[in-house]
C-alpha cells in the first residue's frame, strides 16, 4: 500500500481553481444565468426521481 503510486493531479486542481476565478469574474447577469441552469437541472432530477421512486406505504 505504501508503495502505491497515485497520479499527479496538481495541474487539474490548478485548472479547477482557474475556472472558479473565471466564473467569479462573470457579470451578475451571467452568474444568475448559470444558477438558473442549475435550478432547472435540479428540478429535472427531482421530477425524474419522483417518477422512478416506488410508492411506499
Amino acid at each position: 500500500m505504501r508503495n502505491k503510486k497515485y497520479p499527479d493531479v496538481s495541474e487539474l486542481l490548478k485548472q479547477k481553481d482557474q475556472r472558479r476565478k473565471r466564473l467569479a469574474l462573470l457579470s451578475f447577469e451571467e452568474k444568475i444565468a448559470v444558477v438558473n441552469k442549475w435550478r432547472k437541472l435540479t428540478r429535472t432530477i427531482r421530477d425524474s426521481q419522483r417518477a422512478t421512486t416506488p410508492l411506499t406505504r
Binding site: K21, A24, L26, F28, K31, I32, V34, N36
Partner: protein, 169 residues
C-alpha cells in the same frame, strides 16, 4: 430575475417596504463564483416596525393582490421563491441602508456590500457561512479596513479573531 427585481422596486415605490437589499446566496454570487441556490433572501425595513409578528402580512397581502402566492416561508415572484426577512439587528439595518445599487439588465437593484455580508455570515456562524467567508477572502473582494470597522462596531471582532485562529491551525 429582472422581473423579480422590478416587483421589489415597485414594493418600495408603493410604500409597502421602506427599503430592501439582497442578502444570502444571491448577494454572495454578485461577488464570488455562482452558488447553487433556490431562493432569494430579501432583507427589508419598514417605517413602522411596531407591527411585531404581523410584519409580513401587509407584504403578503400586497403580493397576493399582484397574483404572487406564498409557498411556505417564501413568495414565488416571477419564478424565484423570495424570502422576506425584516431587519432584526443593527448590523442588518446598516447592511440594508448601505447596500450598493447595481444594474441587472435594465433594472436597478440593491445588493449588500461584501464587508457586511462577511460580518453577517460571521454573526450567523453556520459551517456554510464560514465556507462562504473563505470564498470572499480567496477572491479578494473584501476591504479589510472596512470589514474591521464593521466588526468592531457590531461586537464581532473577537469572533473574527477566533475564526482566524481556527483557520490558522
Amino acid at each position: 430575475m429582472e422581473k423579480t427585481f422590478r416587483v421589489l422596486n415597485r414594493m418600495v415605490k408603493d410604500g409597502v417596504i421602506e427599503q430592501y437589499a439582497i442578502g444570502g446566496a444571491v448577494a454572495a454570487i454578485f461577488y464570488v463564483e455562482p452558488i447553487n441556490t433556490n431562493d432569494l433572501d430579501i432583507f427589508f425595513h419598514m417605517k413602522d416596525a411596531s407591527a411585531g409578528l404581523d410584519i409580513l402580512s401587509p407584504l403578503y397581502d400586497y403580493l397576493s393582490g399582484l397574483g404572487y402566492k406564498a409557498q411556505k416561508e417564501t413568495v414565488d415572484i416571477e419564478g424565484w421563491p423570495v424570502q422576506f426577512l425584516p431587519v432584526f439587528n443593527p448590523l442588518l439595518e446598516e447592511a440594508v441602508e448601505e447596500a450598493r445599487e447595481v444594474p441587472f439588465q435594465r433594472t436597478k437593484t440593491r445588493v449588500m456590500q461584501a464587508e457586511h455580508l462577511v460580518a453577517i455570515m460571521l454573526q450567523t456562524g453556520r459551517l456554510k457561512d464560514h465556507a462562504r467567508i473563505a470564498q470572499f477572502l480567496e477572491h479578494e473582494v473584501v476591504n479589510q479596513k472596512r470589514l474591521a470597522d464593521i466588526l468592531a462596531r457590531h461586537g464581532l471582532a473577537a469572533k473574527w479573531k477566533k475564526l482566524n485562529r481556527q483557520n490558522a491551525k
